[in-house]
């Protein structure tokens, strides 16, 4: 799925596929985009977290680090000595259902995959990797017809919020 975007961007870097959300699981991340910046010894120079590669500030920090080798002050100030949290029982089940959904998709069982992703979303509602994957599979026209339709995503979030509140009553 990522191929057309990589090609459109004329990417000169290497693109790796993480179909089974290995990094999301190992790092306990629930959103993208995320940057993992490593020095020559494989040590982090910036806390693993949200990164916008198109952001001018980030780009100048990145240039500073690459050219001087010194870690930019902004990264040091924002550093968090966190460790990936162990997954809760709900998160583990959500991941298991996500993995199952990917296998089902590979076997053209779209409806069954959507059902698993819905259960996964209910178990781990904060996980945007699951939530958006579900959206993209259920409503491909909002994702894969030209540009990603962020208006649709906003409306979908509102719909889900209403549904969630209704289920609480």
């Amino acid at each position: 799925m990522a191929k057309p975007w990589v090609e459109k961007a004329g990417a000169t870097y290497r693109a790796l596929l993480d179909q089974h959300n290995f990094i999301g699981k190992a790092y306990n991340l629930k959103f993208v985009p995320v940057g993992i910046l490593l020095d020559e010894d494989g040590k982090l120079v910036r806390a693993v977290g949200s990164v916008n590669i198109d952001n001018d500030e980030f780009q100048s920090e990145l240039t500073e680090w690459v050219t001087s080798g010194a870690i930019p002050k902004a990264w040091i100030d924002a550093d968090k000595q966190s460790a990936p949290k162990a997954l809760t029982a709900e998160e583990k089940e959500a991941d298991a259902r996500f993995q199952l959904a990917i296998v089902l998709l590979e076997n053209d069982k779209k409806e069954a995959a959507i059902a698993e992703l819905k259960k996964a979303f209910e178990l781990d509602p904060e996980n945007w990797l699951i939530r958006k994957q579900l959206w993209a599979i259920e409503t491909p026209e909002a994702f894969y017809d030209g540009n990603v339709d962020y208006g649709w995503q906003k409306a979908q979030m509102a719909r889900e919020k209403v549904a969630l509140e209704a289920s609480k009553k």
């Binding site: 191929k3 940057g35 020559e40 693993v48 990164v51 966190s82």
Partner: protein, 168 residues
Amino acid sequence: MKRYFLLCGAILFFFIGKIEGQMMSTLSVVVDQQKTALAAKVQDGQIYVPLDDFCSAVNAEAKILEENGPLAVCRDDLCIPLNVVGTEDTLTVDGLLFGRLGAFGEPLGVSWTQNNGSLVVMTGQMVAGLGIGNAPPAFTLPDMYSGVPVSSSDYMGKKTVFYMWASW
């Protein structure tokens, strides 16, 4: 005649020994992203690690269970016996005892990948931090075009940016 036969046998044995020796390749061992002095052997597609030193590197111990019992790899209460009926899990090379990683690694929670002459081992015991100065969890993922597995450790020695994104 009998003597002649024996001699042939000895020559044949010598050659088999030679061929096996040539087929065995050596891997350097990286444990939780730290290089070690250990050298693993690959024979018939199986990875063998120097048993005592490897075990101490992954916080385990190789020992004989009970009196005259089987050789086992143990951590705390968990022991995985080696060379149980019908399996050959050990190998002696130059007097050093090697154990087949596949025989005990997984039950111990140890995971590993093989790339570019290295055996990259994760003990599963390291809680990797995600802040400055930490070595975060290693990963190996396929290249989108070639499918070739690429490891985060392949970029050791270079400044590297991994940018995780999705089209949505």
